[in-house]
Symmetry: C2
Amino acid sequence: MLISTDLRPNEARALEALFRAGALSRAALARELGLTRSTTGALVQNLLDACLAKERPDASDGPTDSPTRVGRPGILVEIDGDGAFFLGAYVGVNWIGALAIDLTGTVRARASADFTGAGSSPEKSAEAISDLVAEIIAKLPPGARLNGLNVSVPGFLADDGVTYHAPILGWHGVNLAELLPAALHIELPILLENDANAVAVAETYRVRRREEAGEDCLVVLIENGVGGGIVSAGGLHRGQRLGAGEIGHIPIGDEGFVYDAQRPGRLETFLGKDALFARYRHVGGHATTIDDFTRALERGEPAAVTASRDWARWLARGLATLTCILQPGRIIIAGSVSVVYPFVAGHVEAYLSTYLIEGYPLPKIEMSNAGADGPALGAAYLLHQSALSGDIRFPLRGRKRLEDRPLSPTWPR
Amino acid sequence: MLISTDLRPNEARALEALFRAGALSRAALARELGLTRSTTGALVQNLLDACLAKERPDASDGPTDSPTRVGRPGILVEIDGDGAFFLGAYVGVNWIGALAIDLTGTVRARASADFTGAGSSPEKSAEAISDLVAEIIAKLPPGARLNGLNVSVPGFLADDGVTYHAPILGWHGVNLAELLPAALHIELPILLENDANAVAVAETYRVRRREEAGEDCLVVLIENGVGGGIVSAGGLHRGQRLGAGEIGHIPIGDEGFVYDAQRPGRLETFLGKDALFARYRHVGGHATTIDDFTRALERGEPAAVTASRDWARWLARGLATLTCILQPGRIIIAGSVSVVYPFVAGHVEAYLSTYLIEGYPLPKIEMSNAGADGPALGAAYLLHQSALSGDIRFPLRGRKRLEDRPLSPTWPR
DNA sequence: TTAATTAGTATTGTAATCGAACAAATTGGA
DNA sequence: TCCAATTTGTTCGATTACAATACTAATTAA
C-alpha cells in the first residue's frame, strides 16, 4: 500500500499551496492545484495519515476564501508544524547563531553566542555550531524529526567545487560539511550556503502579497563586506560555482574610502562598515558604532550627514549597475549598516534614476525585515523549500507511515 | 483514443532528449528518460504516429551510444524535422532578417533586407518583417505547420508591461505584437524578445558537449550599443520586466570615449562601435569600418593597437563586474565589434584576473559562433524550446492526429 | 553451433487521477 | 418553517500512464 520514500509530486504541490495560503479547505485546495475534489480528498487523507497536515478544529475564521458564501462550509486543512523540523545556522564575523523552524516555517527555537569567527579555526566553528544545535534540539518537542542543517557563511565555494573560501573569516579551503557531522553526533544532511543568498531567501520566501510571489528580488547585505543575493522566479541565482552575488568586489571607483592594496575601488571599500567610518572620520566624525552614528544622523551632525550622503551616492551607483544587469523588481537593503539607508533613501533614489535610461522601470527599494535572524532563517527556509518541492534528500514522511520502514534523519530521544 | 491538445510530459521529455542527442534507439531513450523499454516503445509509437519523430533508415552510423557492442542493434529514432516550423526575426539598426527552423532546430529558410530601422516607423518594420516572412514561407515544404513568430529587437519592455522602448531604433511605446498580426495576414502567436537575450539563446541552446549543458553563460553583444543575455540553468534570466542585461548602461567610468550628456561613463561609451572609433581617431587612427580596423590591427598599426588595448581594459572591467554579480561559467563575446576581441584576448584575461579575488573561478571567454544569424536564430530557438517543453501556446501534434481536430496555427496552402 | 547480450514488443498489473453520483451542511427565500 | 440552491466532502467505476514480466529478434563472442 505504501511505497515511495519521498513525496509524490502532487503531495508536494499540496503542501506548498497549504504553506502559501496558511489553510485551505479540500475544495479550495483542489481549485488551487487544478485537481478534482475526489483526488484532492485522497491526497489530503494521505497527508493527514502522514502527520504532515491536520484539520483546523475552529472553523470559525473565514477570511480564507470568500466571506458570507452559500453552501456547505469546508473543513480547513493546514500544515502540521510538528511534522518536520529544519535547522539553520550562521557563522558571522562576530557571532554565531542557529535556529529551528517547523514544517509551517515558524521559528520554534533559536540560540546564539558571541564568537570571533575571524580569530578562530573552522574546527572551533563546527563545535560552536554543534553546541547551539544541541541547545536548540532540547527545546523542540520530543521525537522531533530533523530534516537537515544548513549553515550560511560569508564565503563562496572554491574552484574545486567542494571546499569554501571565506577570507573575512580567515577560511581558505575549508570543508565545513565534513567537519560538522563529526562534531554533531547526529546523522543529518549538512548543506552550506552563502550568507547573502540566505538573507535573500529569508526576505522573499514567505510571501504574503500575491503580486510579490514571482517577483525578482535582489538583497544587498552590508556588513564589513558587501554581499548580494539574487532571487529570480522564486529560486536563487547561484551562478556556476554557487558564488554569484559577490557584489562587494565589483570595481566601481578608482579608490575607496578605505585603502585596499589588492583591489582598490571595489564596492566594499565604499559601502562596508569600515569604509563608512573611514569616510566619517575623514570629514571630522568621531562615533565608532553604528548606533552612535545613527544618533549623530538623527541630530543632524554635519560630519555624519556628509558621510552618509557620500555613502548614498556610491550605493546608488552600485544599485544602478545591479539594476541594469538584473532588473530586479525589488531591492532589499540588509545587514547592520542598512540602518543608515532610511536617512538617505531620497538621495539614493534620486541618484539612481539619473543613472538609468528614461522609461526603465525603477526597482522598489526596501529595508530588511528579518534582521539578525536573516542568515540562519534563510538557510533553514532553503531546506524547507527543498523538502516541500519533493527533494529526495529530505523525505517527508510522518509518524503513522514511519513504522513500516526506518527513516534515517530522525533524532532518537 | 486521442486526448490532450499538447504534449504529455514524457513526450516532451522524449523530444528534448532526441533533440539533444540527435538520434537514439528506443532502449537508449528509455535509459535517458528513466523509463522502461516497454513504456518508451509506446511513447515513441505515439511520436511516430504524430509525425514528430521518424526511424532513421540507415542504421549504419554507430557513434551514438557505444561502438562494437554485443547484442541486437537498435533502430535509431530521430526528430522528424517537418513536424513543425518556428519563425525568428530580427529588427536591427541597419538591417532586418528572418529565418525559419524546423523541429530539429535546423535553419530551413532565411531572408534579410537592408532596413534603416532608426529612420523608419514601427509600422514599416512590421511590413518589412511581413514581407520577409512571406518570402520564407514560400521556401518551406507545402503544408508546413508554423508554430509562432518571435521577433528580437534591441530594446526593452516598457513600464506598462505591454509596449517596447528601443531608443536606438527611435521606438518609444511601440507594440509590435499588435502591429504584426495585421501585416502578416496569418494567425500566428507573436512574441518579442530582446536581441542580446536571443543571441544568448542562439549561442547556448544547441549544446553539443555534455559538460556545458547546465552551464551558466553570459553573452555580451557589442554593436553600437552593448547588450547582455544571461542564461542560467538552461533558461534566460529576464528580470522583472524582461529587461535584464542592459549592461551597456552600467556606470563604469567618469567619462567614456564618446560624449554622452545624459549618462556619461556608461559601459557603452567605452565599448560600442562609435566609442572604439572615437578612441581610435583620438590616438591618430583613420579607418572607419571594423574590417579596416582589424586589418590595421593585423599589420600592427600603433593607433589600432593602442585603441584596442584601451578597449580591452574597459571590457575587462565590465566583465569583472558581471562576473562578480553573476559568476557565469562561460562568457561569449558577440556582435560586429567582437572581432576585435581575439587581438586582445590575453590582455582582457590578464586584466580580469586582477579585478577578482584570488580563488574566484575565472569564466571561460569565447567568441560567438552564430554570427549575423544570432538574434533571429535565438528568437526561433526560444519558440522551439517552448514547444519542446510542452508550452500550451505551441501545441505539437502531427498530421495523423491532425485530422481529428482543427489546429489554428497552420499555414493553409 | 551455442551462449551471452541487447533491442523491441505483447501482456498484465497498479497507482493516480477523473467523472459522475450522492449525502451533508450551509444560505436565502417563500 | 420548509424547500430550493449551492457548496463540500466522499464513494465508486473508468481511464491513463507507467512498471514488471515474459517473450521474440538480432547481433557478438566463444
